[in-house]
Symmetry: C2
Subunit: 126 residues, 2 copies
Amino acid sequence: MKISELSKRSGLSIDTLRFYEKIGLIEPPPRDDAGRRDYPEAVLGWIRFLDQLNATGMKQADRIRYARLRAEGPATYAERRAMLETHRTEIARRLAELEETLALMDRKVAHYRALEDETQKETTNV
Amino acid sequence: MKISELSKRSGLSIDTLRFYEKIGLIEPPPRDDAGRRDYPEAVLGWIRFLDQLNATGMKQADRIRYARLRAEGPATYAERRAMLETHRTEIARRLAELEETLALMDRKVAHYRALEDETQKETTNV
DNA sequence: GCTTGAGCTGGAGTGCACTCCAGCCCGTAA
DNA sequence: TTACGGGCTGGAGTGCACTCCAGCTCAAGC
């Protein structure tokens, strides 16, 4: 798969794909005769996973560390598991935070509706 | 309340408090005779609310817009409510995303545990 | 065989949200 | 009365995560 196709299918820009390779998030893919990157299909799954870690707040440095451990093979299973467990904890914390704020938004919206009704009434009375 | 006390009680650094004032997130507080900021108690509640918007992913520009609307009074109730409703939708989206990834973390952790057991067995067999 | 377009590299630039700094003033304690 | 700590301002600097650019090569189509 050429870089332009991977870009379309992954949703990452071409520049970001090369950037991710440079910082070690994506393994350098094989090149064709002209020196152009030729990605394996499997990279798509990995990118989707990276996206999920990213979207749920894992820091770049940690994603890079995970990628490096992954490249080192079975010897790093325990360490990778520990990282995901840590991230799981962080996600749970953020879930609670979001739920709390969701409830707050609902209360505030209801409050504003009430205030708008008040304002409406006053306006009507004039 | 002096800025150092507000810093301690709000968890924001003194620099951040002044920065927030500069960009319009916090109203300029009255000054004492020496020209030093003297914050009202009420600012703490506002900062906590800002924190919550921040922690749940609202952009600086939007928080500033909300702060400006708030300063304009009752005429902006509807607009403020619309902003919070939009943010509520965004929070709900992120909740779903986090839940999905939480489940993924659990699956992956279980997977790694299984792999570690395998590795353990092999090592034992040698 | 020349134009076009995709891809390449190294490095500079961007936007966000702070964070730090120099050099100043002022009020209180020794 | 002077030393100190806290506060002030405007502006420069930081870290993160990209994003853009100049100037190059190469392959394929007309």
